[in-house]
Symmetry: C2
């Protein structure tokens, strides 16, 4: 089969690779129906994370089960499935607590490279969620979004304890930030402030439920949010970038007693203990336990409540994966969907 | 009147000072019934915080109202009152959200020095809570504890979202840590692990509700807590010290999805964003909004549910305040109560 391999910063190739196989009796192998490029992949693509030799690439996927190992009991070939980027047994203590991305037996599905024609999924029973039927073509982008960006935006809102009537600010206008707007709306926020300087993203944020747009950044952005919130800051702030700058902006935009959910993978972030202390702000982050939310999110997609697939503003054949990276790197696309 | 003044590290003097007066019509002046020495005062006493000239000292108090300003409507001379170390209007947005120590008009009561015969209390209506009657002598230590250490231990547990059935670990066996044990028990924790190396404090922790004692610190302490919790860590950890070491110990002792409430005033603490991210731990701290909890805590004291005054293992006349500091500095006393 063929799949994407990162050889060096900026050098993604679509090339022949070994077919994935059942290695463990808990595995499944799926035929990829759609995959995509994640903002977090750009850290590697841009060489900010070191690239140590050729690396199979991508960690978001939906597909059709082709084969299951002898221990897999809940899935059968032919089913359409959505899964998370971390495989989880969904039975250990951390999974039962709702933190499947901290499963005691987790494996990074992306290690095998999901921008490929076929994917091996470890711990298939605990990782994959099958749709009730074969989904309509129009639902596939949104189901794919659930495998990462929608699940991650959802977790940002859950980690920040968004609830009815809250004022929520979202830092970051990438696909995760836009999905976080959806999540805030679904969880009952009455005011949603999207921090964005890019007109097409502002527009999509509004369509997803943002009530206000703030184009300013840093201290000016903080000042704007405070102006809009009686001087105290937003109840909940969803940090969807992962830099020191964005974390500081989030912290200073949150009211005393409010919460930050942070889902941007931190790069060089240190939180000043004294500032956090006197802020009275609650902080929780992490790789989103997408698996926890998948049944609910899939239902919201299939019943038409949410349409996160709209974050894909570029669709390409999988073999043009290198073009997809270039488009996202140059910010010509919010998020690129790839079809084998 | 006379009161304590810190002149230099290790140099506390009890000396003649100006009588406090009503300056603002929202003020009250109280006659001190009891005051005490706080662990956080030791940062100054030891010269870890810089001492810039003679400073009136102390911020914990109970007393009898002597005089009220023209705008004070809920208090009258003769009432027994308990207050917080931060004065708050108790009406602004942050107060209404339950974070009176972030009141938009807060003033540090301790600025005037509460280890004194009389104290000026700004924003008296919002700051002081009167007991229904004159309390019995035996309740005074516990009511005094509510003005800071019990309120702070309570906030640690609330910030960590302690609830019924939780396993809670408490880092720090000072008066706040011991009060945090009381709070965890009152909020329904079923297992309370006190981290303590000092036999008298271990004993008091057990009497307050600790079910387990861990004497090890740092990575060994973390390993012990993990052993006791099926390998994943405690549901809630209450950090009552404020050092980089204690915060790291707290973070690594908490299970994924668990929470830390941190109330030790941070000294040189930076939280590594990447470690916090992958931990999935929620973190909230700050100066405890004692005023929010006072009515409830006073009721628990007067009805005999809690007895936090037992943290006072040394009682001295106020004029011996210097001895009280020495005893706490040398860890001969957990906490010293002072009587004018």
């Amino acid at each position: 089969m063929r799949g994407a391999v990162l050889h060096a910063p900026g050098d993604v190739r679509f090339e022949e690779r070994d077919d994935p196989k059942i290695i463990d009796p808990a595995d499944a192998v799926i035929r990829t129906v759609a995959t995509c490029v994640c903002g977090s992949d750009l850290w590697d693509y841009r060489g900010i994370n070191p690239v140590e030799g050729p690396t199979p690439f991508g960690h978001e996927y939906v597909g059709i089960v082709e084969e299951v190992g002898g221990e897999v009991s809940t899935l059968r070939p032919g089913q359409f499935v959505v899964g998370s980027f971390f495989a989880s047994d969904n039975t250990c203590a951390n999974c039962r607590n709702g933190y499947q991305t901290n499963c005691l037996h987790r494996e990074f599905v992306g290690a095998g490279g999901c921008q490929a024609e076929r994917i091996r999924i470890p711990l298939a029973d605990g990782t994959l969620v099958a749709t009730p039927d074969q989904p309509a073509e129009e639902h596939i982008p949104s189901l794919l979004a659930c495998s990462d960006v929608m699940g991650t935006g959802w977790y940002a809102a859950v980690a920040a304890e968004v609830g009815p009537g809250d004022t929520v600010a979202v830092v970051g206008d990438g696909a995760v930030g836009l999905c976080a707007v959806i999540a805030a709306k679904e969880l009952g926020a009455s005011r949603i402030i999207a921090m964005s300087r890019h007109e097409p993203r502002q527009k999509l944020a509004r369509e997803f439920g943002a009530t206000d747009i703030v184009a300013e950044r840093d201290e000016e952005g903080v000042a704007r949010v405070k102006e809009m919130t009686g001087g105290i800051g937003a109840d909940r702030v969803l940090e969807c970038v992962g830099t020191e700058q964005s974390m500081r902006q989030a912290l200073r935009s949150t009211r005393p007693g409010g919460n930050i959910g942070f889902v941007g993978v931190p790069h060089g972030v240190a939180v000043d203990g004294t500032e956090l202390f006197y802020s009275h702000v609650g902080l929780r982050g992490g790789p989103a336990p997408v698996r926890e939310f998948l049944p609910d999110l899939i239902d919201r997609v299939l019943t038409g409540r949410i349409d996160p697939g709209r974050v894909f503003d570029l669709t390409l054949p999988l073999e043009q994966v290198a073009d997809a990276y270039r488009a996202m790197d140059e910010r010509r696309a919010i998020k690129a969907l790839l079809k084998p």
